[in-house]
């Protein structure tokens, strides 16, 4: 039920933002992520953006997993 989907912020006003979810556009609330900027990715649940997705951390995780399978992880 808590399926969160990543969405890209296209436009924002005070309390809502227009986002793109897998090619379709919708309006979501942004009360929980007041600092969100156009161009950010957010995790959307039940009509609200729950969190800003941090791209840098995503890249770092993938690097970590690669190291892990390459055996360079102790």
């Amino acid at each position: 039920m808590c399926v969160g989907v990543p969405a890209k912020v296209l436009e924002r006003d005070e309390f809502t933002a227009k986002v793109d979810v897998l090619g379709s556009q919708m309006t979501v609330g942004i009360l929980l992520v007041p600092d969100v900027q156009v161009g950010d990715y957010v995790l959307v649940h039940a009509g609200q953006a729950l969190q800003i997705v941090d791209e840098m951390f995503a890249v770092v995780s993938i690097e970590e997993w690669r190291k892990l399978v390459d055996g360079t992880h102790s």
Binding site: M1, G4, L31, L32, L43, Q48, D54, F57
Partner: protein, 368 residues
Amino acid sequence: MEPILKEVQDAGLGQSLLREVIRLADRFKEKYGHPPAYMEVCGSHTHALARTGIKRALKDHVRLISGPGCPVCVTDQKTIDAMIALTEGENRIICTFGDMLRIPGSKGSLLKAKTEGKDIRVVYSPSDSVRIAKENPDNEVIFLGVGFETTIPVLGIALKEAWEDGVKNFSMWVTTKLVEPVVRYLLDSGEAKLDGFLLPGHVSVVLGKNQYSYLVDEYGVPGVISGFEMNEMLSSIYLLIELGLKEEAKIINNYKSVVKDEGNPQALTIMETFFTPNDEAWRGIGVIPKSGLDIREEYRSLNAKIRFPVTVGEPIKTKCRCGEIIRGLVGPEDCPLFGKACTPMKPIGPCMVSSEGSCSAHYKYLRE
């Protein structure tokens, strides 16, 4: 972001991770004499572990136990009956999430009430039901809100909107659940033997990593916060086994791109503002003190339980074993009704109704 998502799903990386997990799990078994056993608390994990084939691929190496992680599955029968009874009143519009519609109550379901002409609407967002209330001033609009910490702030936002806009014909019937009290219950009861927890990604967005310190400090059990893509889950299981081998209990945040150590402060504030701890009844477990949240007294006019009290009798007992399934004691195949009398088309219990329920995930992806 799109390219990152693809890398997260990268099947080649997944295959290598899988081999590493198996290698480590077999070392774990050698060391401790039993395969590592982890509980996924979240229903979305249950579903994703089945769908990606991880559960099947690890079946002989790692025990992955589904826990009480879907709010639909843990809602007790009496509460479902009360929600259905709520549709009886005149001039009511009942709004809820889609998952709730087909859950069988002792007599019928919300879907049955709808086919009998009751005005029951599925909404995507609780805020939509506030809008419906504004558009239908002659009706009472009641939102049936279930959910864990991921959903509770979103329910809170709808309450905030209704309160600030002075919407008088809107109220909410909430039966929300908190993760910590039920995890404590499971660990205290000692029923399910666990080597750690695959911690819920979305609940943790709200709570944050720091909130899980009780697992380490009080129970000495490790946990890894995980996302839902194949590689996210495989690497999280890997990290759990590694902690076990090192005999180290700690919480690792393996979903740093969305989960922060301190959680989401705005979401926590909304929860604080509108809700207060409440004793909640869990299916198959009974009442766990302070294991849910109800609407604060200040906002009693928004609380449908106060505005529209209903009484329902004791529910009829069925052979459904959902209660034991959500405690991690038995699997879907242990239920005599599984795949026979009970299927996703004709569900008997909530674990088959919710797409995140163990029985439904098992039926779709894991039947032998």
